[in-house]
Amino acid sequence: MRSFRLLACAAAIASSLALPMAASAQQLTVSAAASLTDAFKELGPKFEASKPGATVRFNFAASGALLQQIAQGAPVDVFASADQATMGRADDQKLIDADTRRNFVSNSLVLIEPAQGGVGVKSLQDLSGAAVKKIAIGKVATVPVGAYTRQVLDGAKLWEPLEPKFVQADSVRQVLDYVGRGEVDAGFVYRTDATIAGDKVKVVATPSGHTPVSYPVAVIADSRQKSLARDFTAYLTGEEAQAVFKRYGFGKP
């Protein structure tokens, strides 16, 4: 009787552990840059509809942080980064299938300030003014928007003078939040993010002087869903996905 109970317990535990295995049969895990949050959340169900039986789950964060997770062995199938540099590092570390890498959208960098109660920033040069006390940017090492910002400010010779004013955020969405809340006087985000924030922020300039904001996507080398992952990357450059991206303000790859 005792051994029967033991057996029953073991069987219960084993079957509860097996369940998640069965569920992941056709599940795709996509790690994507924070700026893709809204567009990808809309594309997820559309992709699932086009491939019955497949489910997609997303993981949004700064591209550098996502790369770290993948490098540490996180079970990710597809990686979409906000800059070529991060994808390049993924390639160097042999984390992706290089032949699946492709660009799927582009974006542009904008300078924003709070819609209400802003100090009246009109250009990059205004940032040096005394009225601007804090500027939100992405962390240069891990957040692509921070890297683009650095390029722009280096080019304008403003990086060093403005350094004491920077608040470095973990993702572009956090930069957006800081500006939207009025906790900082200005910030650098992508045009698509400024659009999402609607009436909380206002775009004051579109600086140039950075490498083109081009988003690459690739299949992770250790992925267990290679064929579904390739389907997803192909889907992103297809007509349906590109129409959605266009609506959010992304540009062509």
């Binding site: 891990t142 009025g182 906790e183």
Partner: protein, 227 residues
């Protein structure tokens, strides 16, 4: 050994000193408030006192993001208090180390509160009664009888609070941000190092934090067993 030596030399130790400073100030604030509240909850049972005490204990169980968000809502630019401070004193706790102190004090308070409340409850009331028959004012009874008797328990809780304040991360990150050389505490430095892939630096900082926390907890234990 050489690379370790050069790693230690090249590491920016500002986060360590900032963490010690923030934790010390935060612990001091929560100590004062914790003793006062602990005495109230131990000695004055008013209707609803358990609920009020539970509210003060909330930061112990709430996610750090809730605490951080709460502080932002209450002291941020768009809040009445935050707007008033900005307008009249050009002062804000957001993105300043003072914000880290507030966040750390909020999470450390429950630890001081609980231990001082228990310590006060454990003081023999007859000793206090004896002191007041000797014509000691209530304040004098508190300072010369109650507090000395409750001190080991309070100190144990304070040391725990210090360790907690040293390790504070989520709420202080939201309120103070992780600005290098200004508000980047030790826990934030570890987080940044891990995110950027600087594993050596992360490991070093983790070891430093762990050693300090273990020391503080060992001291705290000794005071707990003194009671």
């Amino acid at each position: 050994m050489n690379t370790t030596h050069s790693l230690i030399q090249s590491t920016d130790w500002f986060p360590l000193f900032l963490s010690l400073k923030v934790a010390a100030v935060a612990t001091l604030c929560s100590l004062v408030l914790g003793i006062a509240l602990g005495w109230v909850f131990a000695r004055r049972k008013f209707p609803g006192s358990t609920i009020v005490e539970a509210i003060f204990m909330l930061p112990l169980v709430l996610p750090p993001t809730v605490i951080g968000y709460g502080i932002l809502v209450m002291a941020g630019r768009r809040s009445p208090l935050g707007a008033w401070l900005r307008e009249h004193f050009d002062y804000t706790i957001i993105f300043s180390w003072h914000g880290a102190v507030v966040a750390s004090a909020v999470v450390a308070l429950p630890l001081v509160l609980k231990s001082s409340s228990a310590a006060f409850a454990g003081v023999d009331r007859s000793l206090e009664a004896a002191a007041s028959t000797l014509r000691q004012s209530p304040w004098s009874v508190f300072l010369r009888v109650t507090l000395p008797l409750a001190w080991p328990g309070i100190l144990a809780g304070t040391l725990l609070a210090f360790a907690r304040a040293m390790g504070e991360f989520g709420a202080s990150l939201m309120v103070a941000g992780s600005i290098p050389q200004q508000t980047q505490t030790l826990s934030m430095a570890i987080y940044d190092a891990v995110q950027a892939g600087h594993d050596d630096l992360a490991l070093l900082l983790v070891l430093v934090t762990s050693v300090i926390s273990v020391l503080v907890l060992v001291m705290s234990n000794r005071f707990f067993s003194l009671r």
